[in-house]
Structure formats: structure tokens, C-alpha cells
């Protein structure tokens, strides 16, 4: 602003300066993205989901193992190996004692090489003898307090060290299948189920809620009565019943999830439509002869998009949860396919001896649930600033 020499000059007020509303101008989408970005948890959740999708899509392609390939020589191997350094033999090396008392040769970088041939069991000495390239080594199980030890011919124990499992990064399950690859396949199943189920629920919910809300009156009453009855008892019960009928499997779980979880979406959509349809712009659209379908699709749905998107985002973790829940009670995808829930279920009984089999899928489920919830929270705040607390 220039300083005027004569401060008493009259100024012409221009209409434009009067009417401009100060403040930065942003489009709605930019505004949403701007507010979403401001929440680190939401952005972190978003990144994790992208990584998970990449993990699920490309992970199995890069893996040396498949989800169904069993290697009965290497069952229940943990991700961290306690290896015994065999010395005094022709070639020094390391070995790992498996849970079923077998001996596996382990290379220096932690790869599982091959089972070491079994010689015989010496019951009197409580030893199991193996032949490691000409040298006899033995698993000594005589001392309970010390646990299993690998001893040489002279009876002295070898030194131990902990190495990361180089062949199976997350260990193997009870059938000798690679946990990491199964986890990736589990991610495929869980995410696919979640996305498809959320999408179908979205469509059904929008149609049902849209029709109910738009038509109103008795139709609305009747349609909402149905929703009320459905939601009287927990939706998981229906899913269980439907799963029982359809028999467990990938498709059945999608069908089961899609058949009831739309009720929340239908309620949201109906509520939005009811509120919006009384507003002037809808009346205006009607007076210029827009068809009811046009009004719903072009005016009502776009204006209720915020809550719809948030509800849809929240449907995804719900679907993941229900899928894992179903798998956990034995109604999930059928073997040898893996979902995170079935993996948890499989690992439950041997939790004490092989906790890694439980922790990996449990962690994956938690991480995914966290991420989607954070995204949902972030979106809700970003789409509806009024709800901010």
C-alpha cells in the first residue's frame, strides 16, 4: 500500500474489494486432501495400506516358496534359529534341532541346507545319534533342566548361537509351509474379501437406502422395518448361519458378508437423502423436470458422498475382522488356502511351542485394522469439518 501524501483524499470504494471473501480458496477435494494430510495417523495408515496391497500382489511372485508347498523335513521352524556349531568334524558347520528331535544342517548365513541323516537312538543314554559328514553327533535329552543339547562323541556340548532363518524368514508352519508366503497369500485373501465385500455392500446400501429415502412414506417405513429386524441380532450371527449353509470357502464368505453388512450403509444413505431431498436445489432440479433417477444419481448421492465414503472405508476393516473371525471359528477359506484368520486358528493349539505362527498373522490383522481405521477417522474429519472435536 502506498503512503499517500495527502491523507484526507477520498477513496472510491470498489464493489469488488467489498465483496471478496478473504481467505485462501480451495476446491472441495483439495480441502479434503489438505485436512487429511494434516493427520499423521491417517497418512501413515494410507501408506501402510498401499504397502500391504503391494505385499499381497507382488510378494508371492518374488517368493521362492508357494503357499501350499509342504516340506515335512522342515516343520515348525521358527524365524530365529538356535544353532549348534559342530566342530572337530571334517567340515565344520552348524545344525538346528527341530521340535520333533531331528537335526537340520544350517549354513553360515542361516539357510536350512538339509536334514542330517539319523543313525539310531541310544535310549539308555537318552541320546539320538546323527551322522554329520562322517562324524557322529547326538541330541542329548537326558537333562531336563538344560533342555536339549547337541553333543559330540566325547559328550561335551557344542557352542550355540542365534541366527535369522535365511530360508524361511518368518519360519514354517506345522506342515513345513513358508509362513511369509502364506502371509502374503493371506493378505490377498483378506484384502480381496474386504474390498469386494465393502464394494458390494456399498452398492446394495446405496440402492436400498437411496430408494427408501427418496420414496419415503410407507415404502420407507417398510424398508426400514426390514433393516431394523435384520440389525436386531448381531450381524455375525447371520454370517455364521449363511456360512454354515453355503459351506466355508472364499466365495461363500463374500456372499455372507455382502448379504447383511449393507444395513449400516443403507441407514447412512437414507438419512442423508431424507435430509437433502427437502432442500431447495432438489426442488429446483425437480421443477426443471429432472427424472427421479437423475435427481438421486446427480444431486442426492453426490451430496451425501462424504458419509458414504467414510462408512465404506469403515466397512473394510469390519470385513477383514469378520473374515478372520469366521476363519478362526472354522468357517473360513478351505485348506490349503490361507487367510490370516485360518493361520491364527491353525497356530492356536501350538501357541506355547511355536508362537511365531500365531504372532505373524495376528500382527498382520492388527496392522491392517489399524490402518483402515486411521484412514476412516482421517477421512471423516477431512470430509466433515463440523465433526471435528
Amino acid at each position: 500500500m502506498e503512503i499517500t501524501a495527502v491523507p484526507w483524499d477520498k477513496i472510491d470504494i470498489e464493489k469488488e474489494t467489498m465483496e471478496t471473501i478473504a481467505g485462501e480458496q480451495r476446491s472441495f477435494a483439495q480441502d479434503v486432501w489438505y485436512r487429511f494430510k494434516k493427520r499423521p495417523s491417517a497418512v501413515a495408515g494410507f501408506c501402510v495400506v498401499i504397502l500391504l496391497v503391494l505385499f499381497a500382489v507382488f510378494g508371492p511372485l518374488l517368493s521362492r516358496h508357494t503357499y501350499f508347498e509342504q516340506n515335512l523335513a522342515f516343520v515348525n521352524i521358527p524365524p530365529f534359529l538356535k544353532v549348534w556349531k559342530i566342530e572337530g568334524a571334517g567340515t565344520p558347520g552348524s545344525a538346528y534341532i527341530t521340535q520333533n528331535l531331528k537335526l537340520v544342517e544350517v549354513s553360515k548365513d542361516g539357510r536350512l541346507v538339509a536334514p542330517i541323516p539319523f543313525v539310531r537312538e541310544d535310549i539308555s543314554k537318552k541320546r539320538i545319534l546323527f551322522d554329520y559328514s562322517g562324524t557322529v553327533v547326538a541330541i542329548d535329552y537326558s537333562d531336563r533342566a538344560q533342555g536339549l543339547r547337541l553333543v559330540g562323541t566325547d559328550g561335551s556340548a557344542f557352542l550355540t548361537k542365534k541366527v535369522w532363518n535365511g530360508t524361511y524368514l518368518l519360519g514354517t508352519d506345522s506342515l513345513g509351509r513358508d509362513m511369509l508366503t502364506r502371509l502374503m497369500f493371506g493378505a490377498r485373501i483378506s484384502l480381496t474379501v474386504a474390498f469386494i465385500a465393502a464394494f458390494i455392500n456399498l452398492i446394495i446400501g446405496i440402492l436400498y437406502g437411496g430408494i427408501s429415502g427418496y420414496l419415503g412414506g410407507n415404502v420407507d417405513n417398510a424398508m426400514m422395518r426390514v433393516v431394523d429386524v435384520i440389525s436386531t441380532i448381531p450381524l455375525t450371527l447371520y454370517v455364521i448361519l449363511i456360512m454354515v449353509i453355503l459351506d466355508s470357502g472364499f466365495l461363500s464368505i463374500i456372499v455372507a458378508l455382502s448379504s447383511v453388512y449393507w444395513v449400516s450403509m443403507a441407514r447412512v444413505v437414507r438419512g442423508q437423502i431424507m435430509a437433502l431431498k427437502e432442500q431447495e436445489f432438489v426442488l429446483a432440479a425437480r421443477t426443471i423436470g429432472t427424472s427421479p433417477m437423475g435427481i438421486v444419481m446427480r444431486h442426492l448421492i453426490p451430496n451425501s458422498l462424504g458419509p458414504i465414503i467414510v462408512t465404506a472405508t469403515m466397512l473394510i476393516p469390519t470385513a477383514i475382522f469378520v473374515e478372520s473371525f469366521m476363519s478362526f471359528i472354522g468357517l473360513g477359506v478351505s485348506a490349503p488356502m490361507a487367510s490370516w484368520g485360518t493361520m491364527c486358528n491353525d497356530a492356536l493349539e501350538t501357541m506355547k511351542s511355536t508362537p511365531h505362527q500365531l504372532f505373524a498373522p495376528a500382527f498382520a490383522i492388527c496392522l491392517t485394522m489399524f490402518s483402515f481405521n486411521f484412514i476412516g477417522d482421517g477421512l471423516r474429519d477431512a470430509l466433515d469439518p463440523k465433526l471435528r472435536k
Binding site: 500500500m1 483524499d9 477513496i11 470504494i13 471473501i21
Partner: protein
């Protein structure tokens, strides 16, 4: 005259995501015992915030940045929370705008009226109840003893505002702040409530600050008026002076936008062009500059000082400055013409 409340250089801001909203900027005024002061201004001009600041009732994002508010000589801005609590509801009480939402929906009307007495006196239950019923009768609630046990949702808007008034007067405060008490009501109910307030004013010794955006409502209630705009006091005058010789272009604009019953059909109501300033980045000079038809370049650059018009009349308009030229100056030319 004994000063009851003296506000000096009060400045309050709200700290929001988008930055600092300067809601009240450097406000000073005083109020005498038993006086009725009107505060007028459009929404967002800082009327309510001024008094919420004084009472320590600002929302969490609001903060008083400076200034004093001496109530009976004691500064309320610097006062501790418990000291302030002893004054609130007892010496200074407030009537809020929306009687629909200002009453707790889950508590009995009577209990809400009696609550101030419970907080500030040591009276027994029966005595408190008796006084509360008496107060309800004074604000013309029919069958007060029976209505004592009603819930707010069983009352109409006007009745609820009567309850609010009863609530604010029950401890015999020396100052009542009525924040737009009739804005949320129907016009006919508005009249009844104003009538009630005028009657109560006669009987009670309380000073009243009457906040409104409606000059005609203020005209019927108050002796003195403060006009606020953009978080600042624009003009302060006795009610007669304000209507007869308004000394600020904004006040003149306000007066022109009031409908008068016997108005000529030809003379139109004139709205003030433009919209209120953005308080995130208020103009460096007079906040009204962008809407003012009499604006000079100095108005853009610096905030006008309080200029004295008469003993009871001051205006924050540059045109009243002693340096301001006479020619083309509506105020000074008017003075010349009258002389």
C-alpha cells in the same frame, strides 16, 4: 457517579486452525451502578465476546490478550478462577440468546433456577425453593409452584426465556448481561420479554448491559449505547444523541437500515454495502473502511482514535479528528450548517 464496571484496553483473540481471529481489539468503556447500557453491532463484531472475556467464559480457543476489567475496583481479567466463580451468577449474571439450548434438558426448571442460590448462599432447601418459586412468579410464570417441577421441553421459548431471566436475577446481581435475549424469539414474544425486562429494571437496582444487533430494541431499553464493529467500539453516545446526531458512518448506515412504521413509501431501506471484515486479517486502519462511502486514505492506514463529539458522545471516525478538513466532511459540514 460511582463506577461499577470499567473496561480498559480489552483485547481478546481466538486461536483457530487458520490463525488468530482478533475478535475484540482494544476496547474501553465504563458502566455506572444501575445504568442500562446497550451494545449494538452485527454478528461477529465482538459484542458477546467482550462480556464472555470479562466473565472468563470464553471457549477453550479464546484468550484475553490484554487489558483490564475493573468490577467494583477489582480486576476480573487477572482474577483467579475461584474468585471469578464467586462473582459469576452472584454479582454478575448473564441471560443468553437461545433459551432453547441454554437450559439443561434433563434438569427440572425449578432446580435450575434455584442452583445459583445453592452455590452462592447458605440458605436451607425449603428457603431456596420458596425463593425460586417467588422468582418464577416475578417473571410471570403461571402456577410457578407447579411449574417448578417441569422440564424445559415442556415450556415454550418465551417461557424458557422467562426462566433464564429468573435464573439471572435470583441472586440480586449488581450487573446483568443480557446477550441478545430476544433474538431467538417470535416478535410478539419478543415484546413481552422486553416489557418484562423493563418492569424488572424499575424494581431492581441492577445495572444492565443489553447486547443486541437491533437498534430499535436497544432504543426502548437503554440510556447509553455503544456501537461495535470489527471488534472495536465505533461510537458511544446517549440514546438521544445516537439517534439524532449519529457521529459515525457505520451508525448512520445502521440507522438507515431500520424500518420505520410511518416511513414514506418512496424512501427505501438502505442496506450497508459489502460484508464484515475478515477478523483473521483485519484492515490495518478503520475496520469499516472498505464499506465506508466517506472513507479517506488515512482510514486505510491507521486506526482512528476516540474523538470527542460531546461530553457523553465519542466517535472513532477520522472525520472527527481536529486535523480533518471541513469541506466534504459530512460531520463538520453538518456542524457548520447547524451553526
Amino acid at each position: 457517579m460511582a463506577g461499577l464496571l470499567e473496561v480498559k484496553n480489552l483485547t481478546t483473540s481466538f486461536f483457530t486452525q487458520n490463525g488468530e481471529v482478533k475478535a475484540v481489539r482494544d476496547i474501553s468503556f465504563s458502566l455506572d451502578q444501575g445504568e442500562v447500557l446497550g451494545i449494538v453491532g452485527e454478528s461477529g463484531s465482538g459484542k458477546s465476546v467482550t462480556f464472555l472475556s470479562i466473565l472468563g467464559l470464553l471457549a477453550d480457543s479464546g484468550r484475553v490478550k490484554g487489558g483490564q476489567a475493573l468490577f467494583n475496583g477489582k480486576d476480573l481479567i487477572g482474577a483467579g478462577k475461584s474468585e471469578l466463580r464467586k462473582i459469576r451468577g452472584n454479582d454478575i449474571s448473564m441471560i443468553f440468546q437461545d433459551p432453547m439450548s441454554s437450559l439443561n434438558p434433563l434438569k427440572l426448571i425449578g432446580a435450575q433456577v434455584a442452583e445459583s442460590l445453592e452455590i452462592h448462599t447458605n440458605l436451607g432447601r425449603a428457603e431456596i425453593r420458596r425463593k425460586a418459586i417467588m422468582m418464577l412468579e416475578r417473571v410471570r410464570i403461571p402456577e410457578a409452584a407447579k411449574r417448578y417441577n417441569s422440564y424445559p421441553h415442556e415450556f415454550s421459548g418465551g417461557m424458557r426465556q422467562r426462566v433464564m431471566i429468573a435464573m439471572s436475577l435470583i441472586c440480586n446481581p449488581s450487573l446483568v448481561i443480557a446477550d441478545e435475549p430476544t433474538t431467538a424469539l417470535d416478535v410478539t414474544i419478543q415484546d413481552q420479554i422486553l416489557k418484562l425486562l423493563r418492569e424488572l429494571r424499575r424494581d431492581m437496582q441492577s445495572a444492565i448491559v443489553f447486547i443486541s444487533h437491533d437498534l430499535s430494541v436497544i432504543a426502548g431499553m437503554c440510556q447509553r449505547v455503544i456501537v461495535m464493529y470489527g471488534g472495536m467500539i465505533m461510537e458511544e453516545a446517549s440514546i438521544e444523541e445516537l439517534f439524532e446526531t449519529p457521529a459515525h458512518p457505520y451508525t448512520m448506515g445502521l440507522l438507515r437500515s431500520i424500518p420505520v412504521i410511518d416511513q414514506d413509501k418512496d424512501s427505501m431501506l438502505e442496506p450497508i454495502p459489502g460484508s464484515p471484515p475478515d477478523m483473521l486479517a483485519p484492515p490495518a486502519g478503520c475496520p469499516f473502511v472498505v464499506r465506508c462511502v466517506h472513507a479517506r486514505s488515512i482510514c486505510r492506514e491507521s486506526v482512528p482514535p476516540y474523538n470527542t463529539v460531546s461530553e457523553t458522545h465519542r466517535s472513532r471516525c477520522w472525520l472527527w479528528s481536529s486535523d480533518a478538513p471541513v469541506s466534504g466532511n459530512i460531520f463538520k459540514e453538518r456542524g457548520v450548517a447547524r451553526a
